[in-house]
Structures are given as structure tokens and as C-alpha cells.
Amino acid sequence: MIQVKVELYGAFRNCGWTEREVDISLSGPVTVAELRRAFAERLGELAPGFSFERLLGDSAFANDTRLLEPNDRIEASCRLAILPPVCGG
């Protein structure tokens, strides 16, 4: 079993889920593309009134050092972040 904690940033903080992260349980290693589907399913359960499909489509998964590509593999429990479009400055 792999546990992935996905930290929420930017507009995802308005989703209605009171925590700043979403826990996802996976039966084994997955690609980031598969994680994206699992995240969408879990967020839909936790924040049923939040319309996030378009936002998620424009968002990237990342770890502390780099953006993750859809084919990158998640092999072990870890902490990641979901990054909506950015606008610092």
C-alpha cells in the first residue's frame, strides 16, 4: 500500500475541504497520470460542491524539487503538491 499526501495550493485551498492536503491510498506504484485520476476521485468525495475539473486540468503535480511528468512513477509513499496556474510577483 502506498500513501500519497497531496498538498493543496492556490485556488485548491477554496475547495471546501478544511485540510490543506488530501490523503490518497494506492494499492501499488502508479504513474502521475494515474495519481491524477485518483486525486480527482478523492477530491470529489471530500469537496463535492467544488467544480475543479478545469482547474485540475491546468495544474501540475510536483515534489520539492521539480514538476512531475505524466509518465513519472510514484513507487513509494510520499508528499507531493498540486500546483494550479501561478501568478506571483
Binding site: Y9, R37, G57, A60, R66, L67, P84, P85
Partner: protein
């Protein structure tokens, strides 16, 4: 002193500390850019802006950007980049960029490069607070533009 210092922090920007240590004996130019919270945006009166950031990757991205600028305008350039998080009132500084170089042209160019790339690439977000209590997360640049992922 370190050649590149990039920080994302809730702490207010201390201008004296920011400038000290930026220059180098062989440098004759120090370019400073500050971004501040503006009182209007798209015709709406802004009372404050809340900044959110994924700090570890934001700092790594800022270091990458400074490294790219050094590659283009001089490996001896020195950089300081600070970005605030948290709620800031109108007029407060949200970002400070300092570039030191031998001559002014390089520091002007490098500073402009850093702020433009920061806006497109650093995982930082802002939510504006308007008169009347309305708030809005501002739209920005998608970091996944080159990724081919399915819409779910």
C-alpha cells in the same frame, strides 16, 4: 557572501539587510526592483492580497532562473530574490529583486528576466481581497503546458 540568495517567507522585506551584501568590489551597478500591492485591479478596489507559495520548489525555481540569467548576462552576477507570503496590504512590498553586475546594462536585463520568469514559473499564487468582502484567486500561467495529460 552567496552569489544567489532566494527566499520565500512571511517576514517583511528588510531593505537595509536586502541591499547589504548584494554588491561585489568589481561591480559598479546594483539594480533593485520591488513589486508592491496595488490598490486597484481590473477596475476593482483591492484592500489586500494574500500570497500562497509552495516554498521549496519556489526557491529552487528562483535559483534556476537566476542561474539562467547569469548564463546570459555574466557568471559573476549576484542575485537576491525575496518573495512574501501571507496577507499584504496596499503598498506593501511583495517581491524584491536585487542584481549586482560590473555595468548597469547586465543588471537591468537580468532583473527584468528574473521578474518575468518568476511570474510564469515560480509556484506562487495571489488572492485579492476586494471592497465588500469578495475575494478572487488570480488566474495565471499553467506549469503543465507541455504535459499531455487527460482531462478528468
Amino acid at each position: 557572501m552567496e552569489q544567489v540568495v532566494c527566499r520565500v517567507s512571511e517576514a517583511p522585506i528588510d531593505l537595509a539587510r536586502f541591499v547589504s551584501g548584494l554588491g561585489a568590489p568589481g561591480h559598479g551597478a546594483q539594480n533593485l526592483f520591488f513589486g508592491a500591492v496595488r490598490e486597484t485591479n481590473h477596475g476593482k478596489r483591492v484592500l489586500a492580497v494574500s500570497y500562497d507559495a509552495f516554498a521549496p520548489l519556489a526557491e529552487a525555481t528562483l535559483r534556476d532562473i537566476c542561474g539562467e540569467a547569469a548564463g546570459r548576462w555574466g557568471e559573476d552576477l549576484r542575485f537576491r530574490v525575496l518573495h512574501r507570503t501571507g496577507r499584504l496590504g496596499v503598498g506593501e512590498l511583495s517581491v524584491a529583486i536585487g542584481v549586482s553586475s560590473r555595468h548597469r546594462e547586465e543588471s537591468y536585463q537580468a532583473s527584468r528576466y528574473v521578474i518575468e520568469e518568476l511570474k510564469k514559473r515560480a509556484p506562487i499564487w495571489k488572492k485579492e481581497h476586494y471592497e465588500g468582502g469578495e475575494t478572487e484567486w488570480l488566474k495565471g500561467h499553467a506549469l503543465c503546458q507541455g504535459h499531455q495529460h487527460e482531462r478528468v
